[in-house]
Amino acid sequence: MSAAPESRVRSAIPAQTLPQAVDGGQADSRPIKLKATGIDFFYGAFQALHDVSIDFFENRITALIGPSGCGKSTFIRNLNRINETIRGARCEGEILLDGENIRDIDVTQLRRRVGMVFQRPNPFPKSIFDNVAYGVKVNGLARGKRAIEEKVENSLRRAALWDEVNDKLHKSAYALSGGQQQRLCIARALAVDPHVLLLDEPCSALDPIATGKIEDLLFTLKDQCTMVIVTHNMQQAARVSDYTGFFLLGKLIEFNKTGVIFRTPAQKETEDYITGRFG
């Protein structure tokens, strides 16, 4: 079902609209970080995903787009097994992280390696510092006050939030604006050094300026981890991602380099969606 992501289609795309990495030609040579094969997903009797297979390349941003209810969020929630916490949810198929089946990985370790940022900012009702330190402490990634402080500062810097909050680290996280809260959640996720970062419509609750900041952030994080972003915003997908998958009614219709999807989609449904003919 998924078109081979290796297919070379560079020539069809004007260079300025494309993320640089693809242009460089190295993208194809990156190893596969996360490989999902034949994913079927059920909420009780309702089948939400049908035979979805995608390869995610290391240090690349993959965007999953599609109309709401198409299963894109459901799909990424399987990648860190957070769907297992939902009543009556059942996932079939195989997901490999660095070649290892995620069902064989201890779930807490899996989730440490595969971080997640949610649709609405969901900081804990704690201080900014404690929010970022939480994952570090719970996983025992740093010992001692000094080490934890370093870790927190480092994570906040990586999330481009340090300059805005360094003077109020012990204030409640709820005092931050929505965009800041979302970057705090990114910092919190980064603090445990995930290899993969799942972003489930991270900008849907944010204004355009805050959205822009998050998108900039994603570019800078690219060399640190592999990212999967679910978005209903096609421009966002086109701006930030290297690869794009288009979902419709629980099926992966098309998967390819972002430029291909937006310039010369192979499937009629994809074309209809990106040209706004439905959705």
């Binding site: 989730r111 969901n122 900081p123 804990f124 009702p125």
Partner: protein, 324 residues
């Protein structure tokens, strides 16, 4: 709500709107429903008014001294509330001491940790437990708990009474401890169901945030869910306290009916509700009856204050939950 009403009206012709509405029964139905709603207010006003007026004799006779006078002797026309207040507070405190840890633990298990199917069955059983009438708890307590306290628990506790002096003395079986235990059993379901609601009101994103950072289920519960729900859980404790304070039948059957302030939990005591249950219909004279109603008034005031506090706390949690 008023929006839909105004949608219907302009659709009709201006003239005859009132007649049509009358024909449709609106004003009549409105009036009937209003009367019914007003009756709830009326009943409450009546309740307060009766408690106030019927306790007038005792209020004038004793004033606030009633609350800390320790004598209760109907024959000598001496009436003091302190032994009953003491018994009520001690039994309720004992009850909460037992039921809160167990109940909150169970609520955490049911809403956070258990498999859904296990949770459904056990929640059902707990809800049914809440439906068991007080008098049945009392019946069981008389024939099972009382002998148990008298023959097993009491003597065992007496042995450690050097360390814990409040366990000293002979165990009659009936007494403060027995009443506290049965009250604990009766308040379990309330602690559980209200704490559980508070936990379920915690947004899913909070759990997922902790889990997605690699926390175990318990860590997510302890670090993310419980702090979020703590006001609601506190509210459940308050509500259960209000229940325990006013609980009548089961306590009356095992408290021992002795209006004195005993230092030992194994000794018999008395509570506000149980003295009313026992003496109300056999009151010797107006002052006795009036004193009992004054006790009711005190109980009423305590429970509404606690209830109001509990509701505020629960409201605060659900607000917090839905705001995010």
């Amino acid at each position: 709500m008023s929006a839909p009403a105004s949608i219907g009206v302009p659709a009709r012709k201006r003239e005859g709107v009132f007649l049509q509405r009358l024909k449709g029964g609106d004003p009549v139905a409105h009036a009937i429903a209003w009367l019914a709603a007003a009756s709830v207010l009326l009943l409450t006003v009546l309740l307060v008014a009766e408690l106030w007026s019927q306790s007038a004799t005792a209020r004038h006779a004793f004033g606030f001294g009633f609350l800390w006078s320790t004598d209760w002797d109907p024959n000598a026309r001496k009436f003091g509330a302190l032994p009953f207040i003491y018994g009520t507070l001690v039994t309720s405190a004992l009850a909460l001491l037992i039921s809160v840890p167990l109940g909150v633990g169970a609520a955490v298990f049911l809403s956070e940790l258990a498999r859904p199917k296990v949770s459904v069955v056990l929640t059902f059983l707990v809800e049914l437990l809440a439906a068991v009438p007080s008098v049945i708890f009392g019946l069981l307590a008389i024939f099972t708990l009382v002998p148990l306290v008298r023959d097993v628990i009491g003597p065992a506790l007496d042995k450690i009474s050097d360390v814990f002096p409040f366990f000293a003395g002979p165990a009659y079986g009936v007494g403060l401890l027995t009443a506290g235990i049965i009250l604990a059993v009766m308040t379990f379901p309330f602690v559980i169901s209200i704490s559980r609601e508070a936990l379920l009101a915690v947004p899913r994103e909070q759990r997922e945030a902790a889990l997605s950072l690699g926390a175990t289920k318990w860590e997510a519960t302890w670090d993310a869910v419980i702090p979020f729900a703590r006001l609601g859980i506190l509210g459940s404790i308050f509500l259960s306290l209000a229940r325990a304070l006013g609980e009548t039948m089961a306590v009356t059957m095992v408290i021992g009916n002795d209006p004195k302030i005993a230092s030992s939990l194994l000794a018999p005591g008395y509570t506000i509700a149980s003295v009313i249950a026992n003496e109300f219909t056999e009151a010797t004279g107006d002052l006795h009856l009036s004193s009992l109603i004054l006790l009711l008034l005190a109980l009423f005031l305590i429970t509404i204050v606690i209830n109001a506090g509990a509701r505020l706390l629960i409201l605060a949690t659900t607000r917090q939950g839905s705001a995010k």
